[in-house]
């Protein structure tokens, strides 16, 4: 591919732009203000980017599809697999189904001060879920798995609210989640035994 002509063309374009930019009158106070504005913006963008790239602070963005119409037939989101499970590596995974107008299972116990991965799916329309005053927040779009990993520092009873309009009964879509002190929580007590194979 010939890149030279494109490069010269771009250089020329850039040169024209910069000369044109210098032609217009910009007051020295305005120049200073623009510099300050750019610095403020750069600072904010810098913090966000560093947090995203080096500290892994990102919104839930795992692009993973699933057939929302046949969740009950899927391996992962079949009824017996919902709720809290501890995988082979010791990670706590909570699988939840959102449907008009509830979150299933209705209640789960999870440990505090532990990294918890939530996997949310919808069985019907668009939902959203938020635990107020925490960053456990995600949209639940039918056809996709919404995965989010977070930690709850404090034990307590937390409400789980649907925060996206999903129908006339939207207000009624909520449940509670119990965050239990790490030392009092046992995986065994809340992890259902995998159901015997039915097929």
């Amino acid at each position: 591919m010939q890149t030279e002509p494109i490069k010269t063309k771009l250089d020329k374009l850039f040169e024209i732009l910069t000369t044109q930019l210098r032609e217009i009158h910009v007051d020295h106070l305005e120049r200073k203000w623009i510099a300050i504005s750019i610095l403020i913006i750069a600072l904010m963008v810098g913090i966000i980017t560093i947090d995203a790239l080096f500290h892994g602070v990102n919104p839930p963005s795992k692009v993973e599809t699933i057939d929302s119409a046949s969740l009950h037939l899927s391996k992962e989101f079949a009824e017996e697999n919902l709720g809290v499970q501890v995988d082979d590596k010791g990670n706590v995974v909570v699988r939840m189904v959102a449907g008009r107008y509830s979150f299933f299972p209705k209640h789960v116990d999870i440990p505090a001060e532990t990294s918890i991965t939530f996997r949310w799916v919808s069985m019907d329309v668009l939902h959203g879920v938020h635990i107020p005053m925490t960053n456990m927040s995600t949209m639940i779009v039918p056809g996709y798995v919404a995965e989010i990993t977070t930690t709850f520092p404090k034990p307590g009873e937390y409400p789980l609210l649907c925060n996206e309009y999903c129908g006339l009964g939207h207000n009624h879509m909520w449940s509670n989640i119990s965050v239990i002190a790490k030392e009092d929580w046992t995986a065994k007590a809340t992890t259902p035994e995998p159901a015997p194979a039915t097929k």
Binding site: E23, V45, P59, T65, T138
Partner: protein, 541 residues
């Protein structure tokens, strides 16, 4: 120039805009009342969600689109000193858009389109709702065409001259809207209309949300640009001074129009169908678009300072007191900027990528956009109405003091409404609930804020009624022989020389937008055609 036909065209648009506005204001007050649970007899999710959907459509689509069209016709005919190009076409666009509004209003008001103004598939509304909304947009596209044709014709007829700033801003807005509306047009034409008519069995909500996000950010700049236009071209003159910088105004409009487009994913931060890299890219762009607003704030305040000093203001802040606070345009810009400062702080929280998780879809969000849209933007629509109505009907304004009272009460009402709304969001209240039925202690802390919102809404409703009363009385007052006011455009303090092409032409910027859009939306849209996706069937509500 005899511009009676132009004035009638503009006035018809503005009346539709403000008629939609006053209806939606009554709905807004009903909604805060219903939501609070204060009057149990009012409670009905069916009526509430029909009302919320209609309120959103009337305020966000009807008030804005018709106001922008009417305002654009006035700007084009007075700043270019030309009759409107192809008036029958302009009237055709008006009737088409109005027909679209009526067509959409029927299912909305009968509860057959309670899908909110953001559509939300796979919940599906009556097809008439989507078709009506489409006709409204098609009407606005005709307006865009007329604006761009007049812009181009004037440039051809006046080679080497600078397009008047007001027309430059209006043409930039027309360009912005053509690009912006393409996303929602694709969603409605290829997904929602076939889906609602039963021609296709399923829909991919992920793709639908991505296309809607394409439109959802630039649309707010489409609404905002007329307000900024008034900031730059009317305010300095009304304050008794000069525009601080004509060039920077043009730069601000261009950066707004270009960078408002490729950043829509900040509405999808919490969505599972887009990956984090794309979200971060759009997040950075979101901050870039804060730059023209910061520049606008500077230029407008500097212009006000020039006026204040010319009027004898001394010292660091003395010029503020000498500004003509009883001029409705000047008062509006001061109140508008105050709301912009607070709304802007809130916006930074929403824009901040992962921090958005704390307030996403909580009451914070409608609190934010009411402050920045219904506050900052719409108060400038009022200012423009008070300024244009007498000129359009050739009669003096019915009452100037009533106008000032109306602007102050709008500001006070908006502050009382949106402050508790933001607090409710921080306390975790979801937006879009018709009433609170959660069995949780947290909800007790919400009560006082909901009651405050009723008061705020009541003040706003009263204020809105004052506006309409004043405009109607102006229209109905006896014809005045002596009325000779014309629109006066602000002069820049430094004479502007011949501007470089990129500040006098939009062609180059269209290419820039095409590249930016391909980068920021190309892969995120194409991925849906390569992934193994599963559609959703239609749901009622």
């Amino acid at each position: 120039m005899n511009d009676a036909a132009e004035r009638k065209l503009a006035l018809s648009h503005l009346w539709v805009a403000f008629a939609a506005f006053i209806v939606a204001c009554f709905m807004g007050e009903y909604q805060v009342l219903e939501r609070s649970g204060l009057i149990p007899a009012l409670e009905s999710p069916t009526v509430y969600f029909a009302s919320v959907s209609t309120h959103g459509v009337l305020m966000a689509f009807v008030l804005t689109t018709f106001f922008i069209m009417g305002f654009g016709y006035t700007i084009a005919s007075t700043s270019l000193k030309q009759p409107i190009w192809n008036k029958p076409l302009a009237w055709g666009a008006f009737w088409l858009a109005l027909f679209g509004v009526v067509l959409a209003a029927i299912p909305l008001l009968t509860g057959k389109a309670s899908v909110l103004y953001t559509f939300y598939p796979p919940i599906v509304a009556h097809a008439a709702f989507y078709i009506g909304a489409t006709l409204l947009v098609v009407g606005s596209w005709i307006w865009c065409t007329i604006m761009l044709v007049m812009f181009t014709q004037w440039k051809k007829a006046n080679p080497g001259q600078n397009v008047p700033l007001a027309m430059f801003a209006t043409a930039a807005n027309a360009m912005l809207w053509l690009w912006a509306s393409a996303g929602v047009a694709l969603e409605v034409l290829f997904q929602l209309i076939p889906f609602s008519l039963g021609w296709v069995d399923d829909i991919d909500p992920g793709l639908a949300r991505t296309l809607f996000a394409w439109t959802l950010h630039p649309i707010v700049y489409f609404w905002l640009i007329p307000a900024y236009t008034a900031f730059y071209v009317f305010v300095p003159k009304q304050a008794g001074g000069f525009l601080f910088s004509d060039e920077m105004a043009r730069m601000a409009f261009i950066v707004l129009a270009v960078f408002a487009l490729p950043i829509g994913f900040h509405h999808l931060y919490m969505d599972p169908e887009q990956a984090k890299g794309w979200k971060l890219l759009h997040g950075v762009g979101t901050f870039v678009v804060a730059l023209p607003t910061l520049v606008t704030g500077f230029t407008v305040i500097a212009s006000l300072e020039i006026a204040g000093r010319l009027r004898g203001g001394k010292g660091l802040f003395g010029w503020i007191g000498t500004l003509p606070w009883t001029n409705s345009m000047v008062l509006s810009v001061i109140l508008s900027l105050l709301m912009l400062i607070f709304g802007g702080f809130g916006g930074i929280v929403n824009a901040s990528y992962a921090m958005n998780a704390m307030i996403h879809n909580t009451a914070w969000v409608p609190g934010h956009f009411h402050l920045i849209f219904a506050g900052t933007t719409v108060i400038m629509y009022f200012a423009v109405a008070y300024y244009l109505w007498p000129i359009l009907v050739r009669k003096p304004l019915f009452s100037k003091s009533m106008a000032l009272l109306q602007l102050w009460t709008w500001f006070i009402g908006m502050s009382i409404l949106t402050t508790p709304w933001h607090v409710l969001g921080l306390l975790g209240q979801p937006r879009r609930i018709s009433t609170v039925v959660y069995n949780n202690l947290l909800t007790l802390s919400w009560k006082p804020y909901e009651l405050m919102m009723i008061l705020g809404g009541m003040i706003l409703l009263g204020s809105a009624c004052l506006l309409i009363y004043n405009l109607v009385k102006t229209q109905l007052s006896p014809y005045s022989e002596t009325f000779t006011e014309e629109i006066e455009y602000a002069e820049p303090i430094h004479k502007v020389g011949v501007l470089p092409g990129y500040l006098n032409n939009l062609l180059f910027w269209n290419k820039v937008i095409a590249v930016l859009m391909a980068i920021s939306f190309g892969f995120p849209i194409l991925q849906f055609f390569f992934m193994n996706t599963f559609g959703s069937s239609a749901w009622g509500y």
